[in-house]
């Protein structure tokens, strides 16, 4: 077993085990923290595939942004509504059907696709440069549209925060 294989199985194990914990945990805060390890494992798999930029972007955006936002959401709301946030099983039949459909589709794609298998680990020396070049040449329009979408989100977030501050100016002094 080469080092590459060991690393792959290590990250795969982390990803699958923590993803199972995310889904099966009864306590929502455990689910949120288990996501940390899922994101970490997926980032490791990306890095093994030679997509180092994607791996780091995954850590930055999902762990640094989305996970922290999620944790803030859970932490600030559980005490407010004084209801224990638990996950439970609802709508078992439709959920099973949906799960079967998605799992079937994914397995189908996995089997049908003609995978491009490379010998050995791909070279990740110039990914950042290549991605930068591509963004500003071939994919300039999608890149700009994404930036406009993000700008709109930013302005919207600022709008919501401002309106809150005007109507209840003393609310945020507590934190």
């Amino acid at each position: 077993m080469s080092l590459f294989d060991i690393a792959f199985y290590f990250f795969a194990l982390i990803t699958v085990a923590s993803a199972a914990l995310v889904v099966f945990s009864r306590n929502i805060i455990y689910s949120a923290f288990a996501l940390l390890f899922t994101f970490f494992g997926v980032a490791g798999l990306y890095a093994l595939l030679g997509a180092d930029f994607v791996a780091v972007a995954q850590l930055l955006i999902y762990v640094g942004g989305i996970l922290v936002l999620l944790l803030f959401g859970v932490m600030l709301t559980t005490k407010l509504v004084s209801v224990d946030m638990k996950t439970g099983t609802l709508q078992a039949l439709p959920a099973t059907l949906l799960f079967a459909a998605v799992a079937g589709a994914l397995s189908g794609v996995y089997i049908i696709t003609d995978w491009n298998v490379l010998a050995g680990a791909p070279d990740a020396a110039t990914t950042a440069v290549t991605i930068g070049d591509m963004f500003l040449t071939t994919w300039l329009l999608p890149f700009e549209i994404a930036s406009v979408v993000l700008l709109v989100a930013l302005v919207g977030a600022a709008m919501i925060a401002r309106r809150d501050a005007r109507s209840k100016p003393t609310q945020q002094a507590a934190l």
Binding site: D52, V56, L59, G64, M75, A128
Partner: protein, 349 residues
Amino acid sequence: MEPLLKGLLGNDIITYVIMAFVPLLWVVPYALFAVWLERKVSAHMQDRLGPMRVGGWHGWAQTIADILKLIQKEDIVPAAADKKLHFLAPFVVFIGSYAAFATIPFSSAYVGSNLNIGLFYIVAVSSLVVVGILMAGWGSNNKWSLFGAIRSAAQIISYEIPTALALLVAVMLTGSLSLQEITKYQDGGMQNWILFGGPASLPGKFLLMPFTFVSFIILFVASLAETNRTPFDIPEAESELVAGYHTEYSGMKFALFFLAEYANMFAVSAIAATLFLGGWTSPFGSFLGGPIWGVFWFLSKGMFFVFVQMWLRWTLPRMRVDQLMYISWKVLTPWAFACVLGVGFYLVM
């Protein structure tokens, strides 16, 4: 160092394990020394002597005695705490701060992993610390811990923006995200440091210097906030929150938080030194250069900023929360944007 070890041992796995543990050989003794130094610096600033007895000369063995005491202490877990999260948090925090050392070049011969996107990686893994701190705050089931953790997370996330923009200035000048490349770009002496405009010709240097100087100061101020150091130590404000997110920790777990904090202090100092003060390159050109002296220069530059952090801690009062947010969003971020634009214009011309 990596090819040498591979040749010597003939085994990839052992080589990588050794490569991974090298920074630890510096971080642990450094943390013991820095805790002692912090106590000495604070004592002398307040006209005291500080620890003087343990070990003889100026109490040099004080922190060694302290760590021996901490190892023997009972590990107290509060009855109402969330045991699993309470246990896991110190490890996540320390892993987050130690992971940053993976791409910091200690010398021309040693860098844990010469990643092509090293700087981007450092920005990303520092978010692991935020999650660990939130874990500690929530797991302790204590209002002070939770407040400390939430304040800390809010602060670190806000200050990531000016930090990243200030880092961008150095990246734009060198055209690389690899810390080893950025260091090599500044080789050849003090005048080539990015702080003084990098190795540009004379008129260009004077055009660049104001931008690089300001972005260095922005980086340093923001990194103080990222490590929760005074004047940004609101997350552990003793007068309000006991000790912030590590209030409920004792023994070795508390020591691990402490180790992570001091490791972080050195990591941000090392990053500032690498990006703006030439990292392991000698300030006098080829005089005292080479891989071994490189380690010396790198560690001295880093330790100088660690000392500045201590100096500031015992000089400045703590900020209020609104002042903290004002500095991040209305002072540092716009000026950092101005620096990025200025350097961008220079590079286009």
